[in-house]
Symmetry: C2
Subunit: 183 residues, 2 copies
DNA sequence: TATAAACATGTATATATTGACATGTATATA
DNA sequence: TATATACATGTCAATATATACATGTTTATA
């Protein structure tokens, strides 16, 4: 479905960027719903350039270091907007290795099962703490923008990520409680 | 990471199955956290057989139709249990095309944005209704098994799936409300 | 008894993704 | 000024996944 294509177009549409910049954004701002390695990004940039959806100019960093600053073309923008406007059917539920393991865990000793859930719980607690920290640091710039803006979208998806993590945590706690009762 | 391998081993460990059976189970019981097409399953079964982790016997269905009934070997079970016992670091957050689109949506007219969220909301409401129906139909067999059992695991992951969907729905509703305020 | 739906098993091709390999520059700091 | 870290761009090989192609049997039902 070329989702990476649109993720890149969407970012470059916001602001001209290098492949390196894209890589950073994917693994920071977008990491809660999309990500990609640089080994995927650079070939895709090449492809999008060949397709005429983006162009680049070479910018010098220091004396010698050349970086490619990509911007979106008119065709690229049309393509992006057409994709954005399309309403999709529901995606398949995301895969989740922990849930898969949990599904089969019954063959393990009760204490090992609890260890799994406790480990997952502490990792998720740490993660949600980081997300909430981001939210409180950025909340001023984000929510107060009372019009629909990039910052407003940042805020909405960050809120969604926090809600998702908190629910995962609630589930883990309920599982731990029920396993305690059952064993 | 060969997750499909362990998904298959886990299922065959519960009960001997054909590739066709596995395909059905993936797209019914496991669909809320794992799935695979038959075009992935059959080659993997071949590979696992070659690796000595499973074996099959040919069973006749009617007069001519041969099906392969797979069972797990001792080595397969050891491999499965070793995987089950391993505690993993947190997986990267699952990708989500709708959230990605939402992140870039700000360039669209407010009404189109709302249409996206409303469509997603009604699709998710339908989905959670189905999940809750499954839960109420199967709840008797599931929860009442007061010991840790396959049915108990089924119950736990189904509950998790319902919680996840409900949170997605809450997020969508909050987004719709906030977009209403902002536009 | 014709027919559709479900059962049953594969392969082929294209795309997506990961992790390793490979190279070199610029900048901050010890 | 040595050194580590971040900046910057690529390729390659292996794995994973999706979609289409391909074939044949059995069972329920109209």
């Amino acid at each position: 479905m070329r989702t990476l294509k649109y993720a890149i177009l969407g970012l470059i549409n916001r602001e001209a960027m290098t492949g390196y910049d894209l890589s950073k954004v994917f693994n920071k701002d977008l990491v809660n719903f999309w990500y990609a390695n640089h080994s995927q990004i650079y070939p895709e940039l090449k492809k999008l350039t060949a397709e005429g959806l983006i162009t680049y100019e070479i910018v010098l960093q220091g004396e010698k270091l050349e970086k490619k600053l990509y911007s979106i073309t008119d065709i690229g923008q049309q393509d992006l907007f057409a994709w954005l406007a399309t309403i999709d059917p529901l995606e398949p539920t995301p895969k989740d290795i922990f849930r898969l393991k949990a599904f089969f865990m019954e063959s393990l000793p009760a204490q090992t099962i609890l260890d799994h859930f406790e480990s997952q719980l502490s990792q998720r607690l740490e993660k949600v703490a980081k997300l909430e920290n981001t939210m409180s640091t950025q909340a001023c710039n984000l929510k107060k923008s009372s019009k629909i803006s990039p910052e407003f979208c940042d805020y909405l998806v960050l809120k969604g990520a926090i809600m998702r993590e908190k629910t995962y945590i609630s589930w883990l706690k309920e599982c731990i409680a029920e396993i305690g009762e059952s064993s």
